[in-house]
């Protein structure tokens, strides 16, 4: 019974934050661009999300006749399932997690590598050249950034001596990992942006050149799932950054641990949005060069140095 409550709670929090983020992002972007943003529907425009959702539900859900129908329908679901499954291993508080696995980080990496299929298959099944180009860019980009997304976390794993998220948070009582693992934190953050294909790394959907890329044929709630999936991805990466590098639910005890976790997560979500507001999109080859020539050697170096220091201290 307790499990059912926790699962329902985690799902509710994740989905509400993801949907609410659509409004938060538009308002914050407007603040940074010196305008007002959506402020007509409800108080402060808060009901904008509800209005958008109703609009998406009532739109015609069109499956193009030239598409590969089963794969086309399957693709948006894969994205939602892989991201929501990963929330199961994220500890929201000392006793507020669905399950604590001793392969927690690997579970996250496995799910994020399965998430690639959603975009690749969505683009391929659309049977449209722009979507196909988007899908190819996505598969190359996400495969590249997955490699050192995993490697950048190995420093944290070595310091905590475990793959389990709860154990990692517990070890950070002596000090948050973002100080000793600063390189790991930077690499993971950049890889996280690329994995969620957010601006500035939104090369698979680059609306200026590819007219939304992999999801240009999607409409109605199928598009909605890609859309919410992107915000779920941001929430997940922010939650993981705060868990792995900023002590998760640890914090001064005058407020409950869950609050600290949500506060840190929200802070990183805002950083994601600020990056969107302030950075231009790099070219495709620049993205690949940054990945293979700078970030991969950096994360390997970080791994080597962390290992050496840990052995020296033993």
């Amino acid at each position: 019974m307790k499990y059912a409550f926790i699962i329902a709670g985690v799902l509710f929090i994740a989905l509400t934050i993801a949907a609410g983020l659509i409004w938060v992002e538009r308002r914050l972007l407007s603040v940074w661009q010196d305008r007002l943003g959506p402020n007509r529907v409800g108080p402060f425009g808060l009901l904008q999300v509800v209005a958008d959702t109703i609009k998406l539900f009532f739109k015609e859900d069109w499956v193009p006749p030239f598409s590969d129908r089963p794969v086309f329908v399957l693709a948006p679901g894969i994205l939602m399932v892989t991201i929501l499954l990963t929330f199961a291993v994220v500890p929201f508080g000392p006793d507020f997690y669905v399950f604590d696995s001793n392969i927690g980080i690997l579970f996250f990496l496995g799910n994020s590598s399965l998430g690639v299929y959603s975009i690749v298959l969505g683009g391929w099944a659309s049977n449209n050249k722009y979507s196909l180009i988007g899908a190819m860019r996505a598969s190359a980009q996400m495969l590249t950034y997955e490699v050192f997304m995993g490697l950048s976390l190995m420093g944290v794993v070595m310091m905590a001596d475990s793959f389990s998220f709860c154990k990692i948070v517990e070890t950070q009582k002596g000090g948050w990992f973002f100080i000793p693992q600063f390189i790991g934190f930077i690499v993971f953050f950049i890889a996280g942006i690329a994995e969620t294909h957010r601006l500035p790394f939104d090369i698979p959907e680059a609306e200026g050149e590819l007219i939304a890329g992999y999801h240009s044929e999607y409409s109605g709630m199928k598009f909605g799932m890609f859309f919410v999936g992107e915000y779920l991805g941001i929430t997940l990466i922010s939650a993981l950054i705060s868990t792995l590098f900023f002590g998760g639910w640890l914090g001064p005890s005058f407020l409950p641990p869950v609050f600290w976790f949500l506060f840190k997560t929200f802070f990183f979500i805002c950083v994601f949005i600020l990056l969107r507001a302030s950075l231009p999109r790099p070219r495709y080859d620049q993205l690949m060069e940054l990945g293979w020539k700078i970030l991969l050697p950096l994360s390997l170096l970080n791994l080597l140095i962390t290992g050496a220091i840990l052995i020296f201290l033993k």
Binding site: D68, I103, L106, L109, S113, L114, Y117, S139, L143
Partner: protein
């Protein structure tokens, strides 16, 4: 636990058969991914969570993406007619006989083997790492040399191309 094993095993077998017999290349690859996921569940039930995770990350998540990538690039999703011409029913005879011989061999071999119980203590990542870098160090080193050869080969292929900033900025 046994129920989960049989479910995963049936899913693995059905999806593998579908992967072999399908004509649409991408659909076959999707069935193959499903089969790999089912095998990962079996590994997990055999108390090897680390191997299960690696199966998902490396096989289902990385290698199969490359397969799908290549299939997409070549656009060989729907060449049904051509494949019908290549694969005549007569070609199946000898491979099927050989496969049946192997199957009989396997069944006879399995009759004498001790069953592996799934209630063993889980083998954690740490133990896998320790045994990899002590007992099986030679294997790890050989794999590393193989990968090094791959890296050098990739460098050789990639270094041929001259870097051009933009096709309009190219100096002839």
């Amino acid at each position: 636990m046994d129920v989960f094993f049989y479910i995963a095993a049936v899913v693995a077998i059905i999806s593998t058969v579908m992967a072999i017999s399908g004509r649409n290349a991408i659909h076959s690859l999707l069935y193959l991914i499903l089969s790999l996921l089912a095998i990962s569940v079996i590994f997990y039930l055999l108390s090897a969570p680390f191997i299960a995770a690696l199966e998902v990350i490396i096989y289902a998540g990385a290698i199969m993406v490359l397969f799908i990538f290549v299939t997409m690039m070549l656009n060989i999703g729907l060449e049904r007619e051509a494949e019908k011409k290549w694969l005549k029913p007569r070609m199946w005879i000898i491979p099927s006989i050989l496969a049946v011989v192997l199957l009989v061999n396997l069944i006879l071999a399995l009759k004498n083997i001790k069953t592996i119980s799934s209630d063993k203590e889980a083998i954690l990542p740490k133990q896998v790492g320790i045994s990899l870098f002590s007992t099986y160090l030679l294997g790890v080193e050989i794999a590393a040399i193989l990968l090094m050869a791959g890296v050098i080969g990739a460098y050789h292929l990639g270094s041929q191309k001259k870097k051009v900033k933009h096709r309009f900025l190219e100096i002839k």
